[in-house]
């Protein structure tokens, strides 16, 4: 394979005696949707936190777009085009949906240290933000404070904030978590439209979503990747059935 967009090399994360990430080497190619699945406690969220720069790995390296980003913090990685959505919606709750997205636009436009313009009248921030809100289906809800949005809408807003910076890679941590059937279906449809335009690393519990969307699936158990392959191969893999899919059926 050509140089992947994102790659981890022997990534290790230990919390005391617990190894949450165990010599993990994963990659996401440009335009690929790579799903990571695994039972609870497999280290999925720990992995996302390391990729996003919130947690420093104990060993190993992370490469993104040809550069070693292991030492970079969360903000620096975001500015390089690695956008993350949180498993539990993390928003500025008193700001409107539009304010939240406009801030994400601002973060990527180098407008931060401008002290004098009225931010809410700045069309160079508001117009792109409105476009992204429309893209995720929140056009009519732009003036609602983020804290007052319904659960599913907050997940859509999470995604909008990630998209606002025109990222090269989306790091989505269980975007369907806690959603009902209808909302999940909408989110799957939305992710399908984003596929190919952005490389996506999707950490997800919802098997329907994973098998409907992924180009490649990796299975994480106790921090280790026990299988990587096309969705149909993973479904057929005996080890995966034992470790995970079978367990789920119990």
């Amino acid at each position: 394979m050509a140089d992947p967009l994102l790659a981890t090399e022997d990534l290790v994360k230990q919390f005391g005696g617990v190894t949450a990430t165990d010599r993990l080497s994963l990659s996401v190619a440009d335009g690929e949707l790579h799903a990571v699945i695994g039972p609870n406690g497999a280290g999925k969220t720990t992995l996302v936190a390391q990729l996003a720069g919130e947690l420093a790995p104990s060993a190993g390296r992370i490469r993104f777009a040809g550069a070693d980003i292991t030492a970079l913090g969360m903000a620096a990685r975001a500015r390089r085009g690695l956008a993350r959505s949180f498993q539990i919606a993390s928003l500025c709750r008193e700001f409107s949906a539009l304010d939240n997205v406009a801030l994400a636009v601002q973060a990527h436009s180098g407008h931060g240290f401008r002290f004098w313009r009225a931010a809410r009248a700045d069309e160079s921030l508001r117009a792109p933000a409105r476009a992204v809100l429309a893209q995720v289906g929140l056009a009519g809800r732009q003036d609602v404070p983020a804290g007052f949005l319904a659960h599913g809408e907050q997940r859509q807003l999470e995604l909008a904030m990630a998209l606002a910076g025109k990222p090269r890679l989306l790091l989505l941590d269980e975007p369907m978590a806690g959603m009902g059937q209808a909302d999940s279906a909408l989110m799957i449809a939305l992710l399908r439209t984003l596929k190919r335009r952005h490389a996506i690393l999707l950490v997800e519990h919802d098997m329907d979503a994973v098998f409907a969307l992924a180009d490649r699936v990796s299975v994480l158990v106790y921090g280790r990747c026990i299988a990587t392959g096309a969705p149909q191969d993973i479904r057929a893999d005996a080890a995966v059935r034992d470790a995970y899919l079978g367990e789920e059926a119990l």
Binding site: A52, E54, G73, M74, A75, A76, A78, R79, R84, F86, S90, L91, C92, R93, E94, F95, S96, D99, A102, L103, A104, Q106, A107, H108, H111, G112, F113, R114, F115, W116, R117, A118, A119, R120, A121, D122, L125, D143, V144, P145, M161, A164, G165
Partner: protein
Amino acid sequence: MADAELASAPPRRAAVRSETALLVLGLAILVLAPLTAQLLGEPFYIRLFTRIAIMAIAAVSLDLILGYGGMVSFGHAAFVGIGAYVAGILAYHAASGEALTTWPIVIHGSQNAFIVWPAAIALAALAAFVIGLVSLRTTGIAFIMITLAFAQMLYFVVIALQKYGGEDGLQMSERSRLFPLDLGDKLVFYYLVLAILVAVIAFCRRLVESPFGMVLRGCRQNERRMRAVGFPTYRYRLAAFVIAGALAGLAGILLANSQNYVSPADMAWTRSGELIVMVVLGGMGTLIGPVLGAAAYLLLELLLGSFTTHWQAIFGPILIVIVLFARRGLYGALAGRPADG
């Protein structure tokens, strides 16, 4: 549109109306009361209003980081004190004729506001930069304690300055000279302070509505989110901390000039606590609230203090009641307006 996220249209319009009424009334009182006091031959009230306006400047500057940035600085009086001491010490050397330093550069004392005031503001900003550089590595209780510790260090430094009065403080023989104004005139000085207060509020209002201000307010609501979206939040918070420190230094200069005297009490930790009380009492994240808070605090101090020296025993419960029942402070209760996000 400011605060588009808040409330639906009809109550919002009513809030704007009562807010405008409150602003006009407040400004009218601030403009007319000292003039009336002058005409009635009651200079005491001019001094009182001057003190209120100066404390309001300090409280507004604290609101910038406390109400909008979520930084509970328990050492804000230190920056007020630095502004005051720079003005006092330069005036002392101007009066004695002795140079402040002779090596490596010679610095003379001065009474010229165009030299003294920028120097005092710059020094307060520098102190805020150094203190912020360390303190802003922490959050929550640790931040409160570290800012308190730094302020106490500076407090004991000025107490140790025997040459400048140590614990007894330092007398200033005259006020700064700000050509063409005669700052020795109580009323002229008051209106200068009032103009500065209005300018500081207008400046802070612009600031919190700017792209920079949106990042600062975002940090208060969810700092992790702001970092995840790509903002190096530490730098933004530090910049706000320095701006607030500089404005507090400005308040300190005015304080020293108003009382012709500087003392360690001006930067004691209790003063930092009073500033927090003024902001919370008036309404955090409103900029106007801290002015109300400063006025309410100093007037209650005067009123209750005339009954008993233990006035704080009465003030304490009043504060608790206001904080419990008017969550957005006096300004929220009077203007019917929630705080900015």
